[in-house]
């Protein structure tokens, strides 16, 4: 199927972009990083086309449905959102060094995705709902924002170590100042948090419409709540107790680990009602 070919191309492009950004940091060469940006933009176009094509192909197969309903599709959608988020940030903060930390997340996600079944399967009855669209899209945009935050938090921790040691050369010297990184860790979370909130709410609305219970403490639901609580704790620690810098960065990474657990771990490790993975 041609959409899968385009997704494979996307994977290669994400890999190339990651390598270019890392190379640019290493060689301290802005020009290389610019190639990285172009690669990301091209990858954005290709992956958007691939999603559209997959959607179209599902209609041709007579089972028309949104392409975010199994593990393969959700991973691909997540990587797509991370890439777009990254491009927005690169523009807004006018720094290409984030790419070395964020694009590998998209690349490894795609590597993981293409190991999964990529055929278009019809939807089982439980997934045939308009709520599915709203639920999956809001959740994954939220996850993507948290991924960006955690990537930047990792940059922060590296940079802060170096600033403490008062070195300003080397690869890390090229990273934006700590203040910018710290701000971005927070900013990505305040985008992710409302999306996750909306994702949990649309999930509850859907559950209510499908089973008559908006909350049943199923492991997937519960883990999304855990993620939500961790980020709520992050926001309060920051706003009212002035948690900045290192502690905030660590909390962002913890939040993202919880996100990964919610997204993949629950299906691979625990059992649940959701359709991704396991099988």
């Amino acid at each position: 199927m041609s959409n899968v070919i385009l997704f494979n191309l996307t994977t290669v492009l994400f890999g190339v972009a990651s390598a270019l950004y890392l190379g640019a940091l290493y060689a301290k060469n802005e020009k290389i990083a610019r190639f990285g940006t172009w690669t990301c933009m091209f990858a954005a176009a290709v992956s958007t086309a691939a999603l559209g094509l997959r959607w179209y192909e599902s209609y041709q197969m007579g089972i028309g449905r949104i392409p975010v309903t199994n593990l393969y599709e959700s991973l691909v959608f997540f990587a797509w959102a991370v890439n777009l988020f990254y491009l927005v940030i690169e523009r807004k903060y006018a720094s290409r060094s984030f790419g070395a930390f964020v694009m590998p997340i998209a690349f490894f996600t795609m590597l993981f995705a293409i190991k999964n079944d990529s055929t278009i399967q019809p939807l089982v009855p439980a997934l045939q709902s308009y709520w599915l669209h709203a639920h999956v899209i809001t959740c994954f945009v939220g996850y993507a924002a948290f991924a960006v935050s955690a990537g930047v938090a990792a940059m922060y921790l590296l940079k802060a170590r170096q600033e403490e040691a008062k070195i300003s050369q080397g690869v890390v010297g090229l990273l934006p100042p700590c203040k910018t990184l710290d701000d971005l860790v927070y900013r990505a979370i305040i985008w992710g948090f409302p999306f996750l909130t909306a994702g949990i709410i649309t999930g509850a609305a859907w559950a209510n419409y499908a089973w008559g219970t908006y909350w049943s403490w199923d492991p997937k639901e519960t883990w999304s709540l855990i993620v939500w609580l961790v980020y709520a704790a992050f926001l309060h620690a920051r706003i009212t107790r002035g948690w900045h810098g290192k502690r905030a960065a660590i909390l962002s990474i913890v939040g993202f680990l919880a996100t990964i657990m919610c997204y993949l771990g629950v299906n691979l490790v625990l059992s649940g009602l959701h359709s991704y993975g396991g099988g």
């Binding site: 019809p122 009855p125 439980a126 709410i201 089973w211 008559g212 609580l229 309060h236 107790r241 625990l270």
Partner: protein
């Protein structure tokens, strides 16, 4: 509030405990951790299962800690109560202060305030204070917002302009916090005044009561629900495509509502919802019979269990009594018996050829649709009068978060005073409650706009 000098009284200490954000953060983390446990220890399994998984001592300990139904245990509920009280106290503690600040903003740019603001600019002009005050007030209205004007103190020649935008961003937090309490209220209303149940109805069967989940109680519906038929549709690959139940609501002997439900499309009547949830074979077979008018207009599909009469309103009762795989060379056929009020029973064979039965010249025409294994449909049943309160809370939560995160309370002050050298001294200052970087740019525009004013 606590006086700095004296030791806090016990009451104050309790109050400080419940209004502290530290407690909130700890509660959030503890709730998260407890929830993790609840996803690792599988909840609400039969007791034998737990005995298989855990050693006796571990079982005893976990049972004591209610870890097998953790989310309904007393200590988890206590955590939720603590969380709610904390949230309510925090709001009671802070909201009045915010209201006060919003109602009585600092409209005068005194020295203390000026020093605390990082965005400030000062310049001098010739002319009178009043002239410039009017000009700057107009300028500020056009580049930012209409200012309030304060004069004085009496002895000095001084005018203060104060303009603000996005005051409601101060309330985003409270809308968010209130929404959590509203959601809890909705959940409690649902638990107290609603019920959840599950019921199986065989094809052709009827129920008026539903066993309530987690109890031995039967909930009376106040009406009857009939399952006319159940059907499983599959994709060409054999995967299930749809579970379809044809349901009728019967009130006082009349069918008042009929709906074909599938997963994700429930039936609702008098606040009670019926959700397609499961299915199975009920044992036995049924015969499908399509009922039409002589002109071919469909009336209904019947699912006849052997020998059991089904009533058709305005017609009579029909029952299936015999089946033949090939009756007189005309294909599969069903023998039915029709009973009309005040008339003797009549028996005849019906076939799968459409319209063949019209030869009987009756007011209804029957066509045999084949034999079916008799199925039952499994329905989740729910009544939750609190659910709309929950949705209200959810909507407010999203709204509150957006207000809190993406709106900013922006304030601009302009002080115009007579300086010692006789010229007019102007001070412009501004602040924003969040997203300061964006506000810096905006402040530059305000600066340019205001300074461009000429007599």
């Amino acid at each position: 509030m606590v006086d700095d000098k004296q030791a806090p009284s016990p009451m104050d200490r309790v109050w400080n405990f419940f209004t502290s954000v530290k407690l909130a953060i700890i509660t959030l983390i503890v709730l998260a951790t407890a929830s993790i446990i609840g996803t690792i220890v599988e909840q609400n399994l039969p007791v034998e299962k737990y005995h298989q998984i855990y050693e006796d001592w571990a079982f005893a300990l976990m049972d004591k800690l209610s870890l097998f139904d953790m989310y309904h245990s007393w200590w988890f509920l206590l955590l939720l109560v603590l969380f709610t009280v904390n949230l309510a106290c925090c709001t009671i503690d802070r909201l009045p202060r915010v209201l006060k600040v919003v109602r009585n903003p600092r409209t005068r740019l005194d020295e203390g305030l000026e020093k605390s603001l990082s965005l400030a600019d000062r310049w001098k002009k010739k002319g009178t204070v009043d002239e410039w005050a009017t000009r700057y007030a107009d300028a500020l209205s056009s580049v930012f917002a209409k200012p309030r004007i304060t004069r004085g103190p009496e002895e000095s020649e001084e005018v203060h302009l104060y303009a603000e935008k996005g005051v409601i961003s101060r309330f985003g937090v409270y809308v968010t916090h209130l929404s959590i309490i509203i959601i809890f209220v909705g959940a409690i209303v649902g638990n107290v005044a609603g019920f959840k149940g599950y019921v199986n109805i065989p094809e052709g069967g009827e129920i008026t009561k539903v066993p309530v989940r987690g109890g031995s109680r039967m909930q009376d519906l106040g009406f009857a629900l009939r399952c006319n038929s159940f059907r499983l549709e599959t994709y060409p690959s054999g995967q299930p495509k749809a579970y379809v139940s044809d349901l009728s609501v019967i009130n006082d002997g009349h069918e008042v509502l009929r709906k074909t439900i599938v997963v994700n499309d429930p039936l609702r009547y008098k606040g009670i919802w019926f959700y397609q949830s499961s299915y199975g074979e009920a044992g036995g077979t049924t015969a499908l019979v399509a009922v039409t008018r002589p002109d071919g207009a469909p009336v209904r599909m019947l699912s006849l269990a052997p020998g059991e009469p089904v009533r058709i309103a305005g017609y009579g009762a029909i029952r299936g009594v015999d089946y033949s795989g090939d009756y007189e060379g005309k294909g599969p056929a069903l023998k039915v018996v029709v009973e009309k009020p005040g008339k003797p029973e009549t028996g005849f064979w019906i076939f799968s050829t459409p319209g063949a039965d019209a030869a009987r010249k009756d007011s209804l025409v029957f066509t045999f649709g084949g034999l079916n294994a008799k199925m039952f449909t499994g329905l989740q049943v729910a009544m939750d009068p609190g659910v709309n309160i929950v949705w209200l809370g959810c909507a407010l939560m999203v709204l509150g978060i957006i207000i809190a995160f993406f709106m900013s309370h922006q304030r601009v002050w302009l002080k115009i005073a007579r300086g010692k050298d006789g010229r007019v001294e102007v001070v412009l200052a501004g602040s924003a409650s969040r997203n300061r970087l964006a506000f810096e740019k905006k402040f530059e525009r305000i600066q340019t706009g205001v300074k461009a004013v000429e007599p």
